[in-house]
């Protein structure tokens, strides 16, 4: 009985190790649990600001939080999980019309009469060796009722 249980345990551990080793540390529910293991690195998230439906896109400057136009739009309004949008902004490399259409779909009917700016928020230490942190916001795209305007730098990349 004991031998059998131990044999099963070892077998699971071997399968566990093989799967996480060949899938970048994640094969749910097997994981090496790497969350927050990279300390001190710059981070990247997302933030959506609501602007008028007739908002005039001016420029693509990097801004501080007090310079952002409009108001924060809570993703709870559309039932979207922040992690999904933040990861999409961070990891996505395909900014094709199809992908943008997928993103517009998140906002559903809200896009009929609202305009949104989706920012990539980046946090880092102000200077090397400093404890002070800064957060900067890069506009990634504007979602307006009848159009999507992408930051041209994304297309260049």
């Amino acid at each position: 009985m004991l031998k059998k249980a131990v044999k099963i345990l070892y077998t699971v551990l071997i399968i566990y190790a093989l799967l996480v080793a060949t899938h970048l540390g994640e094969f749910w529910p097997f994981s090496i649990y790497p969350m927050f293991s990279q300390a001190g690195n710059e981070w990247s998230r997302s933030l959506v600001h609501e602007v008028g439906a007739d908002y005039q896109v001016e420029d693509w400057q990097v801004l501080r939080s007090d310079e952002l136009p409009g108001n924060v739009f809570a993703l709870d309004n559309i039932g979207l999980n922040q992690n999904d949008l933040a990861n999409l902004i961070q990891k996505n490399e395909d900014w094709s019309p199809r992908r943008m259409q997928s993103i517009r779909r998140y906002f559903g009917d809200y896009l009929n009469d609202h305009g949104f700016v989706v920012y990539r928020a980046r946090g880092r230490f102000a200077d090397q060796g400093s404890h002070e942190t800064v957060i900067e916001f890069t506009p990634y795209f504007y979602l307006l009722p009848d159009t999507t305007i992408l930051n041209p730098k994304l297309l260049d990349e």
Partner: protein, 301 residues
Amino acid sequence: MRFEGFFKHLFQFDREETRGGYLLIKLVEVVMAYQVFMYAWSWASYMPLLSEVILPLGLANYINVEFMFEPVFAYANAFVITVLVLIGIIGKWRYSYLVALLFFHLHYVSRYSQGEISHGSNLTAMVLLSFALAYAFFNDKSTQRKVAFGFVIFFTGMGYVSAGMSKLIGSGPVWSDGSHMYLWMGERSIDRLSQDGVFQFNLLQELMFEHWWLSTLILTFGLLVELSGFLLWFRKTRWIQATMLISMHVGIVLTMNIFFGPYIYILLIIGYPWDKLFNRLLDKKPHSELNTLIERRMYAA
């Protein structure tokens, strides 16, 4: 066999199963099932919002799971998982948990196909796997329960040690430098602001920003507690380690606004000798209907 003493201690085959012990493992099973249901249905309701796979995980690397974004498939899968887990609980089919885990995996890789790698549900699924293996490979009911509990304890402890090791490998001992927390608190402030529309740092967070040593102390505590996860494997240290881990999770809520509820609930159950308390309560009325029911279930073939 190597580590025989350790495994004997882990599985406790030489200890007679008590009514309290039976109740405890059933409680673990019921809580696990509840968590599976919660995930299955909440993910099903979220999936129709998605339209394409952005970062494939697990099986999604090999099959296109975009069909799961159709409400009918998302809800059908949640239904199948629910039924299979219910069959597992009542013990009607020994492989039901194993099959449920496969469908649960499909559910997870569909829901988390947008770039986020969530770890909130890993422990729940590892508990499901523990029961699945015990029921599939052992015939005797009492043995199944002891094996399942041993696996749950082992995988829970291993997960925390792995999390601690990942931090040491990823950043070294300087991981616990308090200024790192400032970056994470900033990151989480944007997450909460984006999700809820409002955010304000709490008193503890303000104090941590003010006092680097406090932030360092809290991170050091978290790292040491994770690295000590193996102490869950031993009966004498289990309750101490469970208390430390629960404290760490409360700390994560207060400092980073991340609530690992399912982990806390499972630790609350497996971390303490509730079986002794249950035995004492059951002994007060030895001829009660509950006692009879438990004994009938314990010795059922």
